[in-house]
Symmetry: D3
Subunit: 159 residues, 6 copies
Amino acid sequence: MSADLTHFDAAGHAHMVDVSSKRETHRRAVASGTISMHPATFDKLAQGTASKGDVLGVARLAGIMSAKQTGNLIPLCHPLPLSHVSVEFALDQAACVVTCTAATETVGRTGVEMEAMTAVSVALLTIYDMLKAVDRGMVINAVKLIEKHGGKSGSWVAD
Amino acid sequence: MSADLTHFDAAGHAHMVDVSSKRETHRRAVASGTISMHPATFDKLAQGTASKGDVLGVARLAGIMSAKQTGNLIPLCHPLPLSHVSVEFALDQAACVVTCTAATETVGRTGVEMEAMTAVSVALLTIYDMLKAVDRGMVINAVKLIEKHGGKSGSWVAD
Amino acid sequence: MSADLTHFDAAGHAHMVDVSSKRETHRRAVASGTISMHPATFDKLAQGTASKGDVLGVARLAGIMSAKQTGNLIPLCHPLPLSHVSVEFALDQAACVVTCTAATETVGRTGVEMEAMTAVSVALLTIYDMLKAVDRGMVINAVKLIEKHGGKSGSWVAD
Amino acid sequence: MSADLTHFDAAGHAHMVDVSSKRETHRRAVASGTISMHPATFDKLAQGTASKGDVLGVARLAGIMSAKQTGNLIPLCHPLPLSHVSVEFALDQAACVVTCTAATETVGRTGVEMEAMTAVSVALLTIYDMLKAVDRGMVINAVKLIEKHGGKSGSWVAD
Amino acid sequence: MSADLTHFDAAGHAHMVDVSSKRETHRRAVASGTISMHPATFDKLAQGTASKGDVLGVARLAGIMSAKQTGNLIPLCHPLPLSHVSVEFALDQAACVVTCTAATETVGRTGVEMEAMTAVSVALLTIYDMLKAVDRGMVINAVKLIEKHGGKSGSWVAD
Amino acid sequence: MSADLTHFDAAGHAHMVDVSSKRETHRRAVASGTISMHPATFDKLAQGTASKGDVLGVARLAGIMSAKQTGNLIPLCHPLPLSHVSVEFALDQAACVVTCTAATETVGRTGVEMEAMTAVSVALLTIYDMLKAVDRGMVINAVKLIEKHGGKSGSWVAD
């Protein structure tokens, strides 16, 4: 495997990449993803958010807390002290789809893309968990990085 | 919100549902999901699996280990002792897509759907992490439950 | 130290008590505690609960999730699969006090008193965290067991 | 809810506050709390500390270790690398009360008040756990911040 | 690889072995290990145990608590609710060696050998940590299983 | 106990040493250890590494991931953001012994010796776990620090 798969050394063995000599810079990442569901399920979710049974409030917290667990979940990910995490949701009534967007920041030697991706994934999984009693057929889609800033490679923005 | 959103009580407050009076039965769940990537990225992954730099081997372990963390990640999920976890991958060269399938089992009072869904999500996030140095545009799609068995509600199979 | 401090063996060494030969029975515990604050802080909390900025919603989840961490926090506590956790709050406007009550259940070989006590403590700590920017002088009081049921020692109810 | 509840954004959604632009300074916090018990229980505790069955030694370690878990327990708390944790106890024989005091320090972008408060709470919960076989009626009181130093808001000392 | 390496399936892929159909039986395991040090270090340890600075008390707790983390540390290990953990030490003054012995029990579908082995390893690592400021040359040796009982394979005792 | 056991204060109470005033420097540590087994077991391991059933690949990941858990396992160890972890194995066919070597790095206020020692221990425990179905008599030996660099005490290399 070529040298650009940095999670492997020259012998092809997995390792946690050495970032000791990298500078501490301000890093930021944004990721998003969706969950689609039956119209009846979507209505329950939308009503709950407006009044009682706040599915999105629970999912938001789950996403934020999971960002702090990223280093424990992703084997070769560096542990790092996050300086900011936010998780937001947008509801598309016509499509019966919820879009989750997470932003993460740190001042450190590695990026926070995985923290944003993990926050989105766990927030969407939590929505699934809370609504699965009425709709087991929900599907999570389009979990992806939107942009990232900071570090030697600088900024990247999805097409 | 109607009573069938079991994660909320009559007042709309989140709680961990009482399963004390449910019988311990054999539970099984299967979930799957995909990650799509550039052809050049797919080739690196496929080559690595065949020889050195085993991305899928790392992702498989990450998925298995994350299934054991499900109760810590999903706020209202019951903690339970899993009796089986497996995570498999299938490569579609033409589409440049990897499909991950996870199966989980327990003998207990609640189902293991969330454990299977979490294993798939974290395995796919790990693939993203290990290949993101060469391809930040990869996308995770179609994370969904395939089937579940056991418990009062019996078997369910996706259409 | 007398033999009735069960967390120590005959030599006075800490150990996790052997419960292998105990029967699995339905266990239940209820604990409570309070946090007192300035009237202005209490008003912010009460307003937030009614509309935006749901301090108690966050604290409830924190309490529920912490119950699942009890075996990792309390050194000699047995790990066990909880079958139910709920966390509720009552607001006393006149006294500017929030009372938190947590109930925990399992079907197992040991009681769930510590899980209920931990859920109350972490829920109250979370309220402190979320309001401390406006009131560092809040005080947590009266964290105690209210009742417990099941197991060889049967039921106990606080005076 | 007014803007000074920093754990919520303008829309009232919980988030982990952005501290990226704060300076790293030396932070220190001290918290305390008490547990009161029956005279017979207090005597067991006091004797154990002097010879065998060291309840306070176990509780001290539990408190120290829990300070390191604060970011995982308190949903919107920033994870941070602690540079110092100490947990001490004082025994008031006349009142049958144990007072726990915890001090925490870091060099970072946020304060360590929650780490000190958590260490006190878990140390007192551990005392409860270890003595509950002889006294279920023990009560935890007066868990509060004593002082904090460092950061933009500077020093604060309880009245 | 032959079928008797049960942690791999027929394709050579790691999985968590399916124990769903195994009966719940009483399981017990005992493991041990040693740490050797300079005579001056050994004297400090021995004095501390007798009076102040209880190295072995801290190491005992670390061992007990780590047994509860075994399923999170060892990738293919089943998580299980332990019903008993004890960790003991014996001091050999002549050889300047401390021997640690850990016993673990559960009533479950898999054995507790790894829990006992982990408790021994972490207890010895903790001794190393606490004494390393005076002796970095300490060595951990002879970490091994002594005996295990219960389950389909029954009892096994080391030669 | 003399003042040089830094994990205890003047009263002999365990604490997490105050490193607030230490400078952040580049720290590095290397540790190693061995596991010995029956010739038939060694052959299975060696074959698996060459083709299917990659015991060492699983053990490597377990070691890397455990380094990130060191602060949670070792009671008085400072939590810190690791900047590099690698785990390697060497096979001695004649002796039927596998040697594991782990290297850890950070830029911080304390050393990373315990992270390297923990990575070695958990990697070897994982080998034990994966091969124990065919050989319960394997023994872990010679877990020790090889060298450490950085910090006020500078470099240390084992004899």
